[in-house]
């Protein structure tokens, strides 16, 4: 399917120079949200997470450049890992309402995300598209089920970060196991969510992505303060 080109709104200036611009598409930036929907997320946590996801989409759409560059994917993990939203530009996503139940197949969820990233990068390359380094955001309130290979995943994530395959951030929701989450990625360390401030977190994520999608390779990024949603200052 041919991608849809979103035209820029016209402006007028009085410089005396004038010129039309061509319909160039933007380079892509993929953000994969890997979200815990285990039974422990039931109640206020999942409700606030659903609200936050919808606000995240709205915030991205408010930033014209980011909305043209950012592709969002959503992977959930409960009893199994599922890709609920394939990589899609924010204005074309129908954000699902998540329901919490089952176990915490966290490792399967992250592995699904890493595979999705590789698949999407392959597609970017095959279709001649430039892309920014993809970003994985893990959100969990618990610890992985006992059958989950955390140390194996830790190596995979470490290797993916070192080889610049993805940026990796993790967010701990009330009751999460910090030590276990830090075992998966210690740098940057997992950040605990203050209460259920998902809306504030996603607003921060949207603003951060706005900065990332306007950056150049190797830029030292000054991301917004995390004070609004975490108990720890970055």
């Amino acid at each position: 399917m041919a991608p849809e080109y979103t035209p820029y709104l016209p402006v007028t200036t009085h410089s005396g120079f004038e010129g039309e611009s061509p319909e160039n598409f933007e380079q892509k930036c993929l953000c994969v949200l890997v979200v815990d929907v285990s039974a422990s997320m039931a109640g206020e946590a999942i409700q606030q997470l659903n609200n936050g996801l919808k606000e995240f989409q709205k915030e991205v759409l408010n930033d014209f450049v980011a909305s043209q560059r950012l592709e969002i994917a959503l992977v959930t993990f409960g009893n199994s890992a599922q890709t609920l939203v394939q990589p899609t530009l924010a204005n074309q996503i129908e954000m699902p309402t998540l329901v919490a139940n089952g176990g915490t197949k966290l490792v399967d969820g992250v592995r699904t995300a890493l595979a999705l990233i590789e698949e999407r990068k392959k597609w970017y390359k095959e279709t001649g598209q430039n892309y920014y380094r993809p970003m994985t955001v893990l959100i969990t309130d618990g610890e992985p089920d006992p059958d989950q290979d955390v140390s194996g995943l830790s190596q995979e994530v470490g290797s993916a970060i070192a080889s610049k395959k993805t940026l990796f951030y993790s967010l701990g929701v009330k009751g999460y196991n910090h030590q276990k989450l830090a075992q998966i990625n210690a740098t940057p360390p997992p950040l605990p969510l203050d209460g259920y401030k998902f809306s504030e977190f996603f607003k921060w994520l949207s603003n951060s992505i706005g900065i990332i999608t306007k950056s150049k390779e190797g830029d030292v990024l000054r991301l917004p303060s995390t004070n609004d949603w975490t108990q720890i200052q970055m």
Binding site: G16, G19, P22, E26, F64, I211
Partner: protein, 295 residues
């Protein structure tokens, strides 16, 4: 401006939206200088990751103007005694850019700055009487318009695997075995009406560089200057300002305003933007033997 200069210019560097929000300085820089028989235009784009790249792009611009003025003055490429060849120009460009790189290293040492903190791309164009020379390291774009009003690219930007990855004058590219991968030099000897040099902050507004081929289902970069962006500025606007007697500074101020918000794409661009536009004056034609005539 030299009396008898047959070209008019508009050039400016303006800060991008994201740098304004971040309170960063403009990391682009450009300069145009005229000499007897030739002019030099330089455009540099400082690396966002490097703390002093704004200083680096300014210093590189100044050093490139100085070094290329020296190099071209020493040659007799005026179209009367001798004409440049592509091979000859490639050698001059390599040697002179290496001189610029070494000068920049000396500057860094003198100022107590880390050399790589000054990283920037560089594009240099030399307008001779009957030829246009271009050399560059890194990304950005350049193009020219021939006598038939057709626009063509003058260079291919160097791109890495990820978006906006490139190389800089400070990069480890100077080994003779790999230098040709990173340093491109071009010689144009057909009659030209206009040319442009720009940093990548201007490319989406003025070049076709990421189009979709619906038959193949792929995106591609034709690297094609967009005529609708340049045409009126080349044929009407810049000549009008010139004939009204505006100073170069007044023209550049208007050009800066245009690059800042002249159309919606320029206005939304987060990156710093620099463009040099050079237009041959309408009543001047230069034949390929270098003689000046009146149309």
């Amino acid at each position: 401006m030299l009396v008898g200069e047959h070209w008019m210019y508009a050039y400016a560097s303006v800060i991008g939206n994201s740098h304004t929000l971040d309170s960063k300085p403009c990391q682009d820089h450009c300069r145009v200088e005229h000499y007897e028989g030739f002019s030099i235009a330089v455009v540099c784009d400082g690396a966002g990751s490097c703390v002093h790249s704004d200083i680096g792009s300014k210093a590189t611009t100044e050093l490139a103007v100085y070094r290329f003025q020296e190099a071209i003055s020493d040659l007799a490429w005026d179209g009367e005694k001798e004409r440049p060849t592509l091979e000859g120009w490639k050698e001059v460009a390599k040697k002179t850019l290496l001189d610029v790189r070494n000068d920049l290293e000396e500057f860094a040492s003198h100022e107590g700055l880390e050399f790589k903190s000054l990283s920037c791309t560089v594009i240099v164009a030399i307008r001779l009487m009957d030829a246009l020379l271009l050399t560059h390291i890194g990304d950005g774009r350049a193009g020219y318009c021939n006598a038939n009003d057709e626009w063509f690219p003058l260079m291919t930007p160097f791109r890495g695997k990820e978006a906006n990855e490139t190389v800089f004058i400070t990069s480890d590219i100077w080994d003779a075995g790999v230098l040709d991968t990173y340093l491109e030099s071009v010689l144009i000897q057909e009659e030209i009406k206009a040319f442009c040099l720009l940093t990548d902050g201007c490319e989406k507004a003025s070049f076709e560089c990421n189009l979709f081929d619906s038959e193949k289902g792929t995106f591609y970069d034709p690297n094609r200057p967009y005529k609708e962006f340049f045409h009126k500025n080349v044929t009407t606007n810049l000549p009008a300002f010139w004939s009204l007697g505006m100073t170069q500074m007044e023209i550049n101020q208007r050009w800066a305003e245009f690059l800042t918000s002249g159309n919606a794409r320029l206005k939304m661009e987060p990156d710093d933007k620099t463009m040099v536009l050079a237009v041959r004056k309408a009543n001047q034609t230069i034949s390929l033997d270098g003689a000046t005539g009146t149309a």
